[in-house]
Amino acid sequence: MTRSVRKPAILLAVTAYFGVLLLIAAGLWVSWQRAGIAPDQPIAFPHTIHVSKLNLPCNFCHIYVDRSRHAGAPSLTTCMSCHRAIATDREEIKKLTRHYEEKRPVEWNRVYFLPEHVYFSHKRHVKAGVDCSECHGKVGTMKKIRRVGALTMGWCVSCHRARGAPLDCTTCHK
């Protein structure tokens, strides 16, 4: 009699336990997906060379980073100012040159993107002395840009909290 009670009870407990674990796993998996996004780009631009080898400062190309909310992608003229002469034989550079000559802008695949309701200003963060690498990682070591920061609200808030940055909703929510 009593056994017939316990058996299903145990069964229930076990399934419940594993169910929870499964959910946790699923959740974490989703969160990991947020980071580590690394889409292919129309032109395989190696930050390794430009940042690590040539030591170009970030705002050499991302000229708006300290002037606007967007960091901005460099205009092709900027690229061509060097690549008219340099490494013109490379496949990717040929691509670039073609774009330039055919006056086709290059549409990069976003690695870092925020929901529509978020206000984010690169300018404010740069002027507050946040180093680019804190969110974007060591791009100098990435042949292909991979997302480092999770870009979840919690991720933003924890940093704001740590640095005593404003926590009022209107700071970021629009």
Binding site: V20, L23, I24, A26, G27, L28, V30, S31, Q33, R34, Y64, R67, S68, R69, H70, G72, A73, P74, S75, L76, T77, T78, C79, H99, Y100, K103, R104, P105, V106, E107, W108, N109, R110, F113, L114, P115, E116, H117, Y119, S121, K123, R124, K127, L151, T152, M153, G154, D168, C169, T170, H173, K174
Partner: protein, 938 residues
């Protein structure tokens, strides 16, 4: 511990759902452009460029706000000689014309079976040039008809017509003000509308002229009026047969029997002649010819009480700078010319020319024709005299009486070519449609007032395959001569400007958006002979329209009907009736009772063989036996043309009304025309202390360290023009939801104009927006903190935290919160208007006025760059920016130097429902419109 993890997972999952809602991953907005953007343009930052509004002939200066190259908001240019920062409801909505989904996108040619089909510009232009030549050989006349045109374009049209042997017809405007122009021609040899310097007058009498909404240059007049009112020692009396927005805003409003304004003015003129202030005399025979009225019979003839009349004449005679403006409805009937002439004579006798009535800077209506000219044209067309007929920016088929048979006659032209942007009645009749670029897509200039030139500068490349009128004409000239266009219109203009203003002037024009030339003062003298002759052969009375009359009034929202097509304008309700969508016929309560009609009951209005079904709206303050309908509500009414002035009469006489018993479904947004004695607008202004028990709270008071944003609204200045409402819609991506939802009371406006009627039929307007309460009822009831109080005193609504319980809206005493009942769509390309600083709210969330938090954020960003606080006046809300009267002030209440602080501490300042202890941040300045001494006015 395990629970913790589980909960965290929930958190992450919710986070991921949040992110998955983001679309920017798809949109390719991270782009390496080929060339760096033009100087001063930074992606993500708004930038402004000057232009001029083309929605009506007034020509207000625009400052076009652009983001990433797209115009997203229009603002008035501070310091502009016409509108000085203000912009009206139509001007604001002009942006929806640019992005209108139904714009004509390419040249259209009517093919055999009467359908339009797109053709190339080359084909279109060559077709025109061929038929120009063809019809010339066939002995037909080529004709060019346009709406009022000023500035270089007018010169170019002359050149075009001269070169190609086209006859340029007098411009067609429904509101040509020809009676006034005629009168001025007769009295002073200046056939035009003078520039009225209202700001310098200490007494203003307007007779019929709807100066706040539609008369000549409304925003300009409104600005001037505010200046005079703020100065203080100013009184404004308005006389009209019907009820207009202008009327209800005057310090005192007289209702005159239709067509009897001349009696009033004759009486006043005599008073002035006898008691002064007379600076100039009149020739004896004129004085003798001037009809005599005792107070009594003047009062009995006009319907204005005798003591009021006496009081009025006292004011006129005592005033140091009295100004009389006649126009609109009062000059558009059989005695219209007399009214205009007598007004002119008063201006002359009181010696306010050129002080207040300036002919040097007249409003350039000289070239504008009349209905009679159109009659003539229609006749010529019917005789088949016309070869190529150009119709530019004008809609006579809609505006002219059916009797003119203009629709039919247009077809008789060999080739009718229409320039326009939307498919209106006239364009639909044309054989060839040449699509016009919006003024924000084209170069140009206008000279709305002599000596004031305002720049029209493209803010974006043409959205569609369209051309500006200038380019069109130049290319046509090129096509005819065969050697192609000599220059583009831009070059043409630059040459013109350099010629007229010199290099410096041209650069100034391009920089500021306008140039104001200094003109020599113009002294005119009364032509006594003509004046007395005129008075001899005419009387001030006789031939008044037979009651009951239907007045066809100009419309605040659509002017003469030209702005009908713009979606936003039907969404914003008419301030007097609060009807948003649909047409209606206003009727006085008394007459309604007599006819036994209910509110919104449909009735058939007929006059002669013309008739139309309209819903009746009971309108307090309207005279008995006078019905009013918007000019654009009535389809080709049988208007008579006044012989001497050629002006169309705005009256339909001896109309018949048959009620149908059927109540029409038109959305009336106001729940009650009266404020039910609830003191929303206390008058005389007093603080509402009733049942105001001191507030106790278990929670700490909100602290405001740096800023506490607040607003002051001066009800003595607000005239209900609703420009702020339109501005708010566009600034904040407020959706246009349409008639169906309006009928359910689901309009989304964050800011609304509440008209409240007093017993005397007087109206007070209360702009109602989120009061940003200090102890806000909405905040405490939100279960998820989507509504909360931020450190700067704003009631913030975090859209994507909102779950949509609607509790906040229920608990809001001001009912200013709006719920998104559906997913709202912006028909392409209207979505280009979106302000990227705000998200477009999803279905199921609550939204409301934020005091334009995005503007505050931007200002604080600027301030932080040079590490300072935001200065007073550095940030203002969209409504305050647009307000033509300057009634709205926004600022930081913690800054004791700020303007808003000063206003909030005036004795006139009060807050709505103060008794509830909500402690709002919006202060209203009560008190009568005309200062303390507004008698009999609520």
């Amino acid at each position: 511990m395990k629970r913790r993890d589980f909960l965290r997972v929930l958190g992450i999952l919710s986070g991921s759902t949040l992110l998955s809602s983001c679309g920017s991953r798809k949109t390719k907005d991270f782009v390496s452009s080929v060339l760096p953007p033009e100087e001063g343009v930074i992606p993500g930052e708004a930038y402004f460029s000057p232009s001029t509004c083309a929605e009506c002939p007034a020509g207000c200066g625009l400052s076009v706000k652009r983001r990433e190259g797209w115009p997203i908001k229009l603002e008035g240019v501070p310091g502009h000689p016409i509108n000085d920062g203000g912009l009206c409801i139509r001007g604001q909505s002009s942006l929806t014309r640019l992005y209108h989904p139904k714009r004509v996108e390419a040249p259209m040619l009517r093919n055999g079976d009467g359908k339009f089909q797109a053709v190339s510009w080359e084909k279109a232009l060559s077709l025109v040039s061929e038929s120009l030549a063809g019809s010339r050989d066939a002995g037909r006349k080529n004709l060019f008809l346009s709406g009022r045109t000023t500035g270089s374009l007018s010169l170019l049209i002359d050149a075009f017509c001269g070169k190609l042997g086209v006859e340029r017809l007098p411009e067609f405007e429904v509101y040509s003000h020809s009676a006034v122009a005629e009168a001025n021609g007769l009295l002073f040899g200046e056939r035009d509308i003078p520039h009225y310097r209202i700001e310098n007058a200490d007494f203003l009498l307007t007779v019929g002229a709807d100066i706040l909404a539609t008369h000549v240059s409304p925003v300009s007049y409104t600005r001037k009026l505010s200046r005079a009112r703020i100065r203080g020692d100013f009184r404004w009396i308005h006389a009209e047969p019907h009820l207009s927005l202008t009327g209800v805003n005057a310090d005192r409003r007289f209702v005159v029997f239709p067509g009897r304004e001349a009696v009033l003015l004759a009486y006043l003129l005599r008073q002035v002649l006898e008691r002064g202030p007379r600076r100039h005399g009149l020739p004896r025979e004129a004085v003798n010819a001037l009809p005599r009225f005792s107070v009594e019979n003047a009062s009995e003839k006009t319907g204005i009480p005798a003591e009021e009349l006496a009081e009025l004449s006292n004011r006129v005679t005592k005033a140091r700078f009295p100004l009389v403006i006649a126009g609109g409805i009062s000059t558009s009937h059989r005695r219209g010319l007399e009214v205009a002439v007598l007004a002119g004579m008063i201006q002359w006798v009181t010696g306010q020319i050129p002080g207040l009535v300036d002919f040097a800077r007249n409003e350039k209506y000289g070239g504008t024709g009349t209905f009679r000219d159109m009659e003539a044209l229609s006749a010529r067309l019917s005789r088949g005299e016309a070869g190529v007929l150009f119709l530019s920016r004008t809609n006579p088929v809609f505006s002219l009486p059916a009797g003119f048979a203009f629709r039919e006659n247009v077809r008789k032209a060999k080739l009718s070519v229409a320039f326009g942007d939307l498919l209106d009645e006239t364009i639909k009749e044309a054989d060839l449609i040449l699509p016009l670029s919006h003024s924000l897509e084209s170069w140009g200039d206008v000279e709305p007032r002599r000596g004031v030139v305002s720049l029209v500068k493209p803010a974006l490349a043409s959205l569609h395959d369209t051309l500006s009128e200038g380019d069109m004409l130049l290319r046509l000239m090129g096509a005819v001569s065969g050697e192609g266009p000599a220059t583009g219109y831009r070059e043409y203009l630059f040459a013109e400007w350099t010629k007229r203003f010199g290099e410096k002037g041209k650069d100034a024009l391009l920089r500021d958006g306008f140039v104001e030339e200094s003109l020599p003062e113009k002294r005119v003298t009364l032509n006594g002979g003509k004046a007395s002759a005129f008075l001899k052969e005419t009387a001030a009375e006789g031939g008044e329209p037979k009651a009951p009359v239907l007045v066809l009034a100009p419309s605040l929202r659509t002017f003469d009907g030209r702005s009908r097509g713009l979606p936003l304008l039907s969404e914003v309700p008419d301030p007097l009736t609060t009807i948003s969508y649909g047409r209606w016929l206003s009727v006085s309560p008394g007459t309604a009772k007599a006819l036994g009609v209910k509110d919104r009951e449909e009735a058939t209005v007929s006059s002669g063989d013309w008739s139309q079904v309209l819903p009746m709206k009971i309108q307090p303050g309207l005279a008995e036996g006078v019905f009013v309908a918007g000019r654009d509500f009535v389809d080709s009414p049988p208007l008579r043309t006044e012989e001497r002035t050629g002006e169309a009469t705005w009256y339909l006489e001896g109309i018949r009304i048959e009620k149908s018993g059927k109540v029409a479904a038109i959305p009336v947004l106001s729940g009650s025309p009266s404020q039910q004695g609830r003191g929303l607008i206390p008058d005389p202004s007093h603080k509402d202390e009733r049942h105001h028990h001191g507030k106790e709270s278990l929670y700490p008071e909100h602290e405001h360290k740096e800023y506490r944003w607040a607003m002051a609204i001066d009800l003595a200045l607000c005239n209900g023009c609703s420009a702020c409402v339109a501005a708010c819609y566009i600034e904040n991506n407020v959706p246009v939801v349409g008639k169906k939802d309006h009928l359910k009371g689901r309009e989304m406006s964050w800011l609304r104009i509440e008209p409240f009627y007093g017993e005397a039929g007087n109206v007070d307007f209360l702009p109602m927006l989120c009061q940003q309460c200090h102890s806000a009822p909405c905040e405490t009831v939100c279960p998820v903190y989507a509504a909360y109080h931020n450190p700067e005193g704003l009631n913030v609504q975090v859209y994507n935290r909102c779950v949509g319980t609607r509790y906040c809206s229920n608990n809001c005493p001001y009912k200013v919160r709006r719920f998104n009942w559906f997913w709202h769509l912006w028909k392409k390309p209207l979505d280009r208007m979106h302000n990227p600083d705000l998200e477009v709210r999803a279905a199921g969330v609550m939204e409301k006025c934020t005091f334009c938090v995005q503007r505050i954020r931007a200002a604080k960003d600027r301030a932080k760059d040079d590490s300072r606080k935001v200065r007073d006046g550095e940030v203002t809300t969209a409504c305050a920016q647009s307000c033509p009267t300057g009634a709205i002030t926004f600022g930081n209440l913690l800054d004791t130097e700020s303007k808003v602080y000063r206003l909030a501490h005036l004795t006139r300042a009060y807050r709505v429902f103060e008794g509830l202890g909500t402690n709002p941040s919006v202060y209203y300045l009560g008190g009568a419109k005309g200062g303390p001494e507004r008698e009999g006015h609520g």
